[in-house]
Subunit: 256 residues, 2 copies
């Protein structure tokens, strides 16, 4: 890559290098910097913060985005970030972008999300990082609304940076860009999957299970991502990797 | 399973049903309740909070633990918890135990850990949940020290429960039980992997990569799990699934 004074932006996702979401993000991001893209070679939704340690990882150069250095990777989204920083770039990029995910990663879905785990890994590397997720699962979804949001958020974070150890979880509700009511900074909602397994029998009569279920909010609050998404706003949840439940320490110290 | 007044304890891990660590945990836990075990059919270290959504999951009855209902599962540790609660037990157990992991899950390793993600999933289901990890990777490690800690922690949590949305990350340093200095409740240390990729060439001259690296602490604090493990204590970090960086909300609201 030639030397440039433009910001170096690293892009990944969890829907694979062939998803429309990442192409949409590349299209927006190239207005703001020089790009390097490393994305999984197959869909990696639901991979959370998984890393590949029991088998080796492949990295293959791709010409999918004209004029942009891109690779497909056999690993997870977090592997893509680690490979990007330590093996391909040999330096920290100025910004990491992940997405645009086909489907929301609001509320506790952040824990299962490969898209957001890539952003969290970026925060652990002290790199400003943003995950974008859109409320439409379709392969050929119209990404103009999340692209409009990305076009607003990216330059602000390039200019202002982010607090140490914090990345952004940006979700955009399904619908045309004109219908968006605005952007709200808020907290992760307290909501959970009521899981269900679809049990079937294979050709030998042996059972197998598909994970399914419904997502239910357990609170009626008006300061959460689920609330604002329902109202037609895009949401930004600042997200951290310190999982310590600090408030619980004192009580446990009385027991142990 | 016959009706019993004893607590119902669900056990899983990420090292597979065949690991010495889970056998050690079963041995301790059966003193305190009736057990059901579902564990991965192959090692799932580093799987984080991954779930299996792109292919079906297999669940196979196992007789590995005499007199105990046990299954091997083709999915991840989080899949095991979901299958346990929703498909096998059809009710919430009184306690979820995960481990004993071969290797520590202190500091930010909690994010990559399948062992701890199973406990976090338990917390999301409002079930008191504990992950145990021991500082010895060996297949035939001497688990007497972590077993002694589990024997102390399990009855306390059965008696006192845990705050809503909180599980425990319990780590035990390598060494004999007699050498343990005690148990300390503390916070997750601020430390990270300095990743490195071991690049090799296959028989066709094509590169592949093994993820490796060194784990470095970036702080000199005396209230962290890494500090107390270094001093010879077992550590308990209360761990939550709310990733919101609450302190960052106000600053971001000035921008968006």
């Amino acid at each position: 890559m030639e030397k440039s004074n433009r910001p170096l932006i690293f892009i990944t996702n969890d829907d694979s290098l062939h998803a429309k979401g990442i192409a949409s993000l590349v299209e927006v991001a190239k207005e703001f910097g020089d790009l390097v893209v490393i994305a999984p070679d197959k869909p990696q939704s639901g991979m959370g913060h998984a890393i590949t340690i029991s088998h080796p990882i492949r990295l293959t150069r791709s010409t999918i985005f004209e004029g942009i250095e891109a690779y497909s990777c056999s690993g997870t989204p977090v592997d893509c970030v680690k490979l990007g920083v330590y093996e391909v770039l040999h330096r920290k990029p100025d910004l990491i972008l992940s997405g645009i995910n086909h489907g929301l990663n609001s509320s506790t879905n952040v824990l299962y999300s490969g898209t957001m785990s890539a952003a969290v890994e970026g925060a652990m590397e002290h790199i400003p990082s943003i995950g974008f997720s859109y409320g439409d699962f379709e392969e050929d979804a119209d990404f103009s609304a999340p692209m409009a949001v990305a076009r607003e958020v990216i330059p602000q974070i390039l200019k202002n940076g982010l607090p140490k150890g914090v990345c952004l979880n940006v979700n955009i509700p399904q619908g045309p860009a004109e219908a968006l009511k605005g952007i709200e900074v808020c907290r992760q909602a307290y909501a959970f999957w009521e899981d269900r397994f679809d049990k079937r029998l294979d050709q030998f009569g042996r059972p197998y299970y598909w994970l399914t279920g419904t997502f239910d909010s357990r609170e009626d609050a008006t300061d959460t991502d689920l609330h604002f998404l329902d109202q037609g706003f895009a949401t930004i949840v600042p997200t951290q990797f310190d999982l310590t439940a600090h408030k619980a320490i004192a009580g446990l110290k009385k027991i142990f």
